[in-house]
């Protein structure tokens, strides 16, 4: 650990990470494990083949209570929250008045309130943003006394079901509450790896005990932030601050699927004028696309995208090597006329101009659980 590690915040699982020989790095103000002795590649592959346990306690967990919390949230996000059924989860984003993205988040409508999970690096500003708009009859509570873990992979749900009856038949993007080892947990069938699995919110004091019990299951290994990043990139999922920012709208970010029909008709969220105009005209300067380099060299964030005549037509916002895909993968923004799948583009990687193609995402098929009808 570096000399300034004392200044970093620790999650309730910090000592477990150290015991597991996690390589701790600063991330969003927290000391987080970037990898364990298994290594990024091994951890990535283990998650795709079995089950990986991630500490995501650095993310912000927030509760909004009071009548009409769902209706009020719609004034801040373009997602359809009002029509969300109880115990269902939705992905959406906070937008600003220019249509830029302030953060992306998961909103769960519970029986009597709203539970949300926001990005670690944005949580302070998200909470300030919500408080600035919060009417008197609603209450915002930061759940700082809870850890958050994710168990992801094809065997994740069967492992969770050993502790929570029925967790393996819970529908994708649904929520339930249950006791695990005597602790009251929030169990959401979602994640950010493209795999089936759960995110579980746990009272902080029970987090280590529950993680030890999960890690004792033969299918489970601890997974660090390095593999979390390569897994989400293969799944085509955005990393806030890189693939989506205040400089990109949800339409430019190819997230229009997250804006429901009623919200498209009614608007009423920050930046709606710009976002809905982009949506109805299809007129955007640039778009987020998947990119497949033709050769073996990965193209990292910041790599310039060129046309055949060396004109700069875009930039890579996330790029690396996809262990499951078996080659370099990336996402980034290109001028709209180059955004068609299959378009030939070039990447300026150091001194070389490398061939690449615009590609559809995900790079590895998502394997979310869908409950049989």
């Amino acid at each position: 650990m570096s000399a300034d590690s004392n200044a970093l915040l620790k999650t309730p699982l910090f000592s477990l990470h150290e015991e597991l020989d996690g390589k701790m790095v600063p991330f969003a103000g927290y000391a987080m494990p970037v990898q364990y002795p298994l290594g990024v590649m091994g951890e990535h592959n283990h998650t795709r083949e079995s089950a990986g346990l991630f500490d995501v306690s650095h993310m912000g967990q927030v509760m909004i209570t009071g009548k009409g919390a769902d209706e009020w949230l719609e004034s801040l996000v373009p997602g359809n929250i009002l029509d969300l059924k109880p115990n269902r989860i939705r992905y959406t984003m906070f937008t600003d008045k220019n249509g830029g993205i302030l953060d992306d988040l998961m909103i769960t409508k519970r029986e009597n309130d709203i539970f949300m999970v926001v990005n670690a690096a944005c949580k302070e500003q998200d909470i300030a943003h919500m408080r600035a708009h919060l009417p008197d009859h609603l209450t915002l509570t930061e759940l700082n006394d809870r850890a958050l873990i994710a168990l992801q992979g094809p065997k994740a749900a069967e492992v969770t079901a050993r502790f929570v009856q029925g967790a393996d038949s819970q529908d994708f993007m649904s929520y339930m509450e249950a006791e695990i080892l005597g602790a009251h947990c929030f169990i959401s069938r979602c994640g950010y790896t493209g795999e089936d699995g759960h995110e579980i919110s746990i009272p902080a004091e029970k987090a280590e005990e529950i993680c030890r019990a999960l890690l004792a299951e033969p299918e489970v290994e601890a997974i660090g932030l390095g593999a979390r990043d390569s897994l989400r990139l293969e799944a085509g999922l955005c990393l806030y601050g890189h693939d989506i920012t205040t400089e990109t709208t949800p339409i430019e970010g190819s997230l229009e699927w997250s804006i429901g029909k009623r919200r498209r008709e009614e608007g009423g969220f920050p930046g709606a004028e710009k976002i809905l105009e982009q949506l109805s005209t299809g007129n955007v300067e640039r778009r987020r696309v998947g990119i497949l380099p033709t050769g073996r060299a990965p193209a990292r964030e910041g790599t310039e995208i060129l046309d055949a005549d060396d004109n700069i037509i875009g930039v890579i916002t996330s790029g690396g090597f996809g262990p499951t895909y078996g080659g370099p993968i990336a996402m980034g923004y290109v001028l709209s006329q180059y955004s068609e799948t299959g378009t030939e583009i070039f990447l300026q990687v150091r001194k070389k101009k490398l061939e690449a193609k615009v590609a559809s995402m995900p790079f590895v098929p998502q394997r979310y659980y869908r409950k049989p009808k």
Binding site: M41, R296, P298, R300, G320, F321
Partner: protein, 124 residues
């Protein structure tokens, strides 16, 4: 033949006027799973300390600096298809390139095996 080590964790195995260069076991372990190596071209000339190659792991790209000045005479083409040789055999099949050493006095600025061992022990 004699093997020398740099503070940037390259090794150079010197036979006559030619040095074979790779990265050490310590370096490959720190970098993690290596997925791509960008090698120089034969005939290219580099000064000591120039960026001569790039190693890409799943996580990040890392520059490799030439431990001596000289001209590249051969590169390890096996690495194009099998970059993981750097992980499995850093001081053998995972070598990077051969260089025609321009100034043998530069070797004196490098470490021998026991000095390098002490150097990495001091880093832990």
């Amino acid at each position: 033949m004699t093997v020398y080590f740099s503070e940037d964790h390259e090794w150079i195995n010197v036979e006559g006027n030619t040095g074979t260069v790779g990265i050490t076991d310590y370096a490959q372990n720190a970098l993690g799973d290596i997925v791509f190596v960008e090698l120089p071209g034969s005939g290219e000339e580099f000064a000591k300390g120039d960026e001569v190659a790039v190693v890409e792991s799943v996580k990040a790209a890392s520059e490799i600096y030439s431990p001596v000045s000289g001209e590249i005479t051969a590169v390890n083409e096996e690495l194009e298809d099998n970059a993981s040789l750097v992980n499995t055999s850093p001081d053998g099949d995972g070598w990077f390139f051969k260089i025609n050493i321009a100034d043998e006095s530069e070797l004196e600025e490098l470490m021998n095996a026991s000095d390098y061992k002490a150097f990495i022990a001091g880093l832990e």
